[in-house]
């Protein structure tokens, strides 16, 4: 049970080399579940190793319960970690694996036995205690690795892509179990993943990273609904957000984005904004589920007719691809929509939910729309 705070953490592997971590700043409260998410090579695993003490930081401070642990060795930080490869000790039985850390810490044997029994019951691995890791399936090894971390009752759990070695079905099962486990134990947790679904489903807080910089830090809903830049918007969400290049025009003081499907045109009103956006190349961000099938012209939302090029029925949804402004756009429609390739559909957008990004930098552009209140307490980190 602990809070975790990172203050301007920097990490470099030598002068002249690019920084692996740049000015990482975030804090989570006691019992919160923090997700570090990003593409491979973004520094998320390095950051986790730094929190664990397996690597030294080059600058800044790491605080656990307001105590600076930056200079401490891993064993003094009271942290347990689950590795992607599980890192079970191959020559030891499951019981010995779980006991190892307790024995090193000189816990009396009676207490160790009690702890092993508790953890084994919690993870339902009682029948596996005598086996060696090589005799376990991937899912069982994963449980043992978690058991080893749980047995120590540390202040903070670190999970380094713990589900990525499991097959798809088991991964979904274990994801739910992890969430259940965290709801029961309420231990502060840091979880590294490159899987945006894990990030959305598990986290209380999500930090999206790229090139050693936190792009955005907030709740999953903030990250999803109000991304700080085009990278965050593209990384979170499946199927990903559509990015449609467009030119802005001003008409009677209101900003308009022009859309062209080849057979029709439409003007998307974007609200009031400062003058310097006039005539600029921007990118519209529209999530597939924010594109709806227009029944008629009755509801007042802007719409456009477009030809269906590909359909992908996924079961719960029907993904329909059309072309707008020479860009492939995915629309997530109800599965019972009857449409075939070549059909012309009337698609509608809610202008209030369309996001604007600068075409050059990918930064989010602020447009004072009617629902500007969505953007409340999000922390935006500008990339340098």
């Amino acid at each position: 049970m602990a809070t975790l705070e990172l203050r301007n953490v920097n990490k470099t592997y030598g002068s002249g080399l690019p920084d692996t971590l740049k000015d990482i700043q975030l804090s989570i409260k006691d019992g919160e579940f923090l997700i570090l998410v990003g593409p491979s090579g973004c520094g998320k695993s390095t950051l986790m190793n730094c929190i664990a003490g397996l690597e030294h930081i080059s600058g800044g401070a790491i605080l656990i319960d307001d105590q600076d642990v930056s200079g401490m060795s891993p064993k003094d930080r009271d942290i347990a970690m689950v590795f992607q490869s599980y890192a079970l000790y191959p020559t030891m039985s499951v019981r010995e694996n779980i006991e190892f850390g307790l024995k090193i810490r000189k816990m009396p044997q009676a207490a160790i036995d009690e702890e092993v029994a508790r953890v084994a019951k919690l993870l339902q691995i009682e029948h596996l205690l005598a086996r060696k890791p090589a005799q376990l399936s991937g899912g069982q090894q994963q449980r043992v690795a978690m058991g080893r971390a749980l047995a120590r009752r540390p202040k903070i759990y670190l999970f380094d892509e713990p589900l990525s070695n499991l097959d798809a079905k088991l991964r979904v099962e274990m994801r739910t179990e992890m969430k259940l486990m965290h709801q029961r134990l309420k231990t502060t947790t840091v979880y590294v993943t490159h899987d945006q679904i894990e990030a959305m489903t598990l986290g209380d807080k999500v930090a999206v990273m790229k090139d050693g910089i936190i792009q955005q830090f907030g709740t999953p809903q903030q990250i999803y609904n109000d991304p700080a830049n085009q990278f965050v918007a593209s990384f979170i969400g499946s199927p990903p957000m559509n990015f449609i290049p467009a030119r802005l025009a001003r008409q009677e003081g209101r900003l308009l984005a022009l859309l062209d499907s080849g057979q029709a045109r439409c003007e998307l009103p974007l609200g009031l904004a400062s003058d310097d956006l006039d005539g600029r190349e921007i990118i519209l961000g529209i999530r597939p589920e924010q594109i709806a099938l227009g029944a008629g012209e009755g509801n007042g939302l802007p719409g456009i007719r477009a030809d269906v090029q590909v359909t992908e029925p996924t079961g719960p949804d029907l993904l329909v691809f059309v072309t707008l402004n020479q860009t492939k756009v995915c629309c997530r429609l109800a599965p019972d929509v009857a449409c075939r390739v070549g059909d012309s559909l009337n698609l509608q957008f809610d202008p209030a939910r369309v996001l604007l990004f600068d075409a050059a930098s990918g930064e989010r552009l602020d447009v004072s729309t009617a629902n500007a209140s969505v953007k409340d307490n999000v922390t935006h980190f500008k990339s340098r």
Partner: protein
Amino acid sequence: MHSPADKPALSLGRLAIHAVLLLAVVLYLVPLVVMLLTSFKTPEDISTGNLLSWPTVVSGIGWVKAWGTVSGYFWNSILITVPAVLISTAIGALNGYVLSMWRFRGSQLFFGLLLFGCFLPFQTVLLPASFTLGKLGLASTTGGLVLVHVVYGLAFTTLFFRNFYVSIPDALVKAARLDGAGFFTIFRRIILPMSTPIIMVCLIWQFTQIWNDFLFGVVFSSGDSQPITVALNNLVNTSTGAKEYNVDMAAAMIAGLPTLLVYVVAGKYFVRGLTAGAVKG
């Protein structure tokens, strides 16, 4: 459709393969058979019969005489080989552990330089080693030979262990560090128990090298401290009296037996250990 259990047909090709293999076996076994047969013959028998003839009287006199001559040197060899093998293997394991899992600045260079030791010809170290042993007061002692063999063997043992340990995931050491284990605890409790195959490879390699060594033995020892290889040479190359081939052969068998024994006992680990790094899991 053939199931794998089906017996293959006895074809001409298969017969040819077996014939060639049989020939190879005979070819390799003939020297051993000649040695064994000769060692059990009497000197008269040797001078009258041919090399492959069965002894007219099976006599142990050659073995008794041979043992009487070389037994002292046999123990010398054991006194040199056993400590040298154990010490060089132990240090090699520790070196390999550090060079693969606790890398320090310049450790790659260090390892590269150490590898040169594998390519150094024996002859180049004779004079410096002799000088060093003299300064240390270890000249012509079994202790001195142990030291020379340990130092010379370190390059090989370090290479073996380092290459074995780089295939072990770093996460194991990280996990153990988070569990609170230190440098030596991790080595003793986690790494060493995983090392059986490579320890076996190292023991066999070092045992064979050191037991069979002649050059270091002949240069750095004299008189009663000589290893059995040198003693065997002295026995066989003696120019006085009649040649006792049965004694020579028996002594050669005695000199070769320990390495044979090591291969028989630990041979299965040798192949397993040499291929251990190649296959994951």
